[in-house]
Symmetry: D2
Subunit: 234 residues, 4 copies
Amino acid sequence: MKVTVYNENVHEKVDPTVRSVHPEGLHGTIAGILRDEETEVRTVTLDMPECGLTDEVLDDTDVLVWWGHMAHGDVPDEVIDRVQRHILAGMGLIVLHSGHHSKIFRRMLGTTCNLKWRDGARERLWVIKPNHPIAQGVPETFALDCEEMYGEPFDIAEPDEVILLGWFNGGEVFRSGCTWVRGNGKIFYLQPGHETNRSYYNENIRRIIKNAVKWACPINKNLPLICPCTEPLE
Amino acid sequence: MKVTVYNENVHEKVDPTVRSVHPEGLHGTIAGILRDEETEVRTVTLDMPECGLTDEVLDDTDVLVWWGHMAHGDVPDEVIDRVQRHILAGMGLIVLHSGHHSKIFRRMLGTTCNLKWRDGARERLWVIKPNHPIAQGVPETFALDCEEMYGEPFDIAEPDEVILLGWFNGGEVFRSGCTWVRGNGKIFYLQPGHETNRSYYNENIRRIIKNAVKWACPINKNLPLICPCTEPLE
Amino acid sequence: MKVTVYNENVHEKVDPTVRSVHPEGLHGTIAGILRDEETEVRTVTLDMPECGLTDEVLDDTDVLVWWGHMAHGDVPDEVIDRVQRHILAGMGLIVLHSGHHSKIFRRMLGTTCNLKWRDGARERLWVIKPNHPIAQGVPETFALDCEEMYGEPFDIAEPDEVILLGWFNGGEVFRSGCTWVRGNGKIFYLQPGHETNRSYYNENIRRIIKNAVKWACPINKNLPLICPCTEPLE
Amino acid sequence: MKVTVYNENVHEKVDPTVRSVHPEGLHGTIAGILRDEETEVRTVTLDMPECGLTDEVLDDTDVLVWWGHMAHGDVPDEVIDRVQRHILAGMGLIVLHSGHHSKIFRRMLGTTCNLKWRDGARERLWVIKPNHPIAQGVPETFALDCEEMYGEPFDIAEPDEVILLGWFNGGEVFRSGCTWVRGNGKIFYLQPGHETNRSYYNENIRRIIKNAVKWACPINKNLPLICPCTEPLE
């Protein structure tokens, strides 16, 4: 399996706290979760030509993982058009945390992906589909001592599956792990992962991300997107 | 619209607290929410012949509301068979609180409808589909000072729609308002309503129940349930 | 209820057959289906400033009906951005036939909306959700002697509900009537309606369109689209 | 993976045509599709004690495949209760053709599972989710020269996924391949497979059945079904 991790890599340059939590950047932390004998991981960042997301790279990607926040608007629309085409042609997409407002996630869902938010909450996650491959090996419930609160209503297209619900100490709830299919591509959104928090070092979050990438890996990719005039078959 | 409210009416006979909260029984309290110029409400209880749920009554019912808890097992299977047939033929069904374990709810969903529970929690409800008819006039969030905690995982068939999510002060979350269609009938489950709590006097809960009954009212009911051998049409 | 019918009105200007089937344009035919005592209908066309779809018009629209084909690309992206915002804020959207490839439908679903097609087929439609408001008064099955075949696979986001399935004499099948919710807005797609065919004069198709507009009429519209930082509630 | 194939094995005893198509019984034909190096297959029939579906057998079964028709009513309710518990605890279930009216399928879905039917039709199947594991290696469309027509409306609980649509030469359409999750168990229904037809020798149907069993194989099985009173976590 070939995975590409996109990170805008902007917080890391301006905020020493982020750099201390993610010494190799968020892309480095995330790539570290995924890399194993069966998984080849490439990282790309906003400052690369075409954000590193050329047709050549995407043709060679089974699953794209996306972390962005401050600089969503700096990703050119042409790059988003291209990524969308690859997803519809079969590539998987994992969107993390503040990626809820990324152009690509909003493009795929058709909605604002707005939500409520507040820094520095305590979160408790609940697995509500225990036999889903994304939940494999994850306990029924676990807590994150410090994470950004994301609260409902979350303006998303109806998920195909809600795997995780989030509880926050301020009284909020959230659909924290959701799946969709768009075209031939599988999409998973995972809510935790604020840049100054340590959720990506939590073993359960790591397991979920690893499982999700495996789940989103396509049977077929680079499929043609066509709208043909066809002869009768009967 | 014609509504029938079923209540097992058992707690009321043995627990003075329940009687003090519901002087006319839970069926009386619930009927009081629903009765208006356009809605004729009949109440039936477990101790009536056939639980009051004869074909005659069900033929004349648009929506059946169900409250039960201690005595689920005392409802004869023949009554459940009959109620199921009427739902599949178009009658709406609203299942309240501990009705999650009623024979009729488990029959319609095919699952155990198990959950976690604990008396005496604080609950906060969130509307996640604000433009759904069941949420009309209900604020985005509101709290119930004392309600029984029902927690995930809730073993239900995948809902068609999740309208309400519940947050509990003990760290739990719940799909507190869900819809399904089965055959021609519409089903809504609402989590609050423990027998010793006052949720059915909360104006938002009352609004939700009123809206749900309206939503579940069928276009057609008493439809035939057939499996015909048919001639080719083309 | 206030309905706005958008028609690109291009075929009508170049093809006498279309003009003979739709003497007042496709927008005129469709408006004629919808206009009644409770429904105020406005028509707009591509050649009007901003396609007639200004904020003023959309603020005053409960449901927008869309017919387009040849000139999808001529609708400016700014108009599509605006229409999308109004849908997410509550406005209903009914997309007809070749509107499957309109910018607005693809924007809302996130997919190509590709399909198979061929002129001059015989179609038979089947209602698979007989108790849905959009199917009210529509028989279980009915035929259209001449309609454009649209065949699966139809590259759409998973519908919330499939109300109609289409059968074609060439061996194809299609999800011919589907619903989605996006933000606060309800969306319905209906497959029949090729510009040279007479489907919009078929009483069942007329009934479906009328029902769909009623179904898509919002409880609330012009809702704010916000992503607020909020204080703890508990 | 361990698979158990249930076949009522009644047609085989009374109809020489069925015996000639399925010399080792329908269970023999179906087991022949599934048996390979990674899959251990056991067959059970109605005339065995407890239909061969004891707790011991079910504890040791990952996926149960079900073919029945004439003798649905002869399967004792106790056996169905037990099979349902095992599905909810994680075991997969594949229901074939006339199994739509089996007690276990109706139990899991809560509906009549009624449909239209007629012997001796020509069917064409369409894959509408080409990137689903159940469709892996199956062409977009293929025909069965002779199969029993099953037509909509099909009275089933809303499927989680519709993978296959069926077209019939008499003008009918059908949701011919559907999935559901109930509890921890995954369920797939496949429409072709009339006892006197040769669909189970069609390479695409064989592929679909093989894929479906793999898809339905649980991550965890024999999970406890509990409804616990729990202490607060926060």
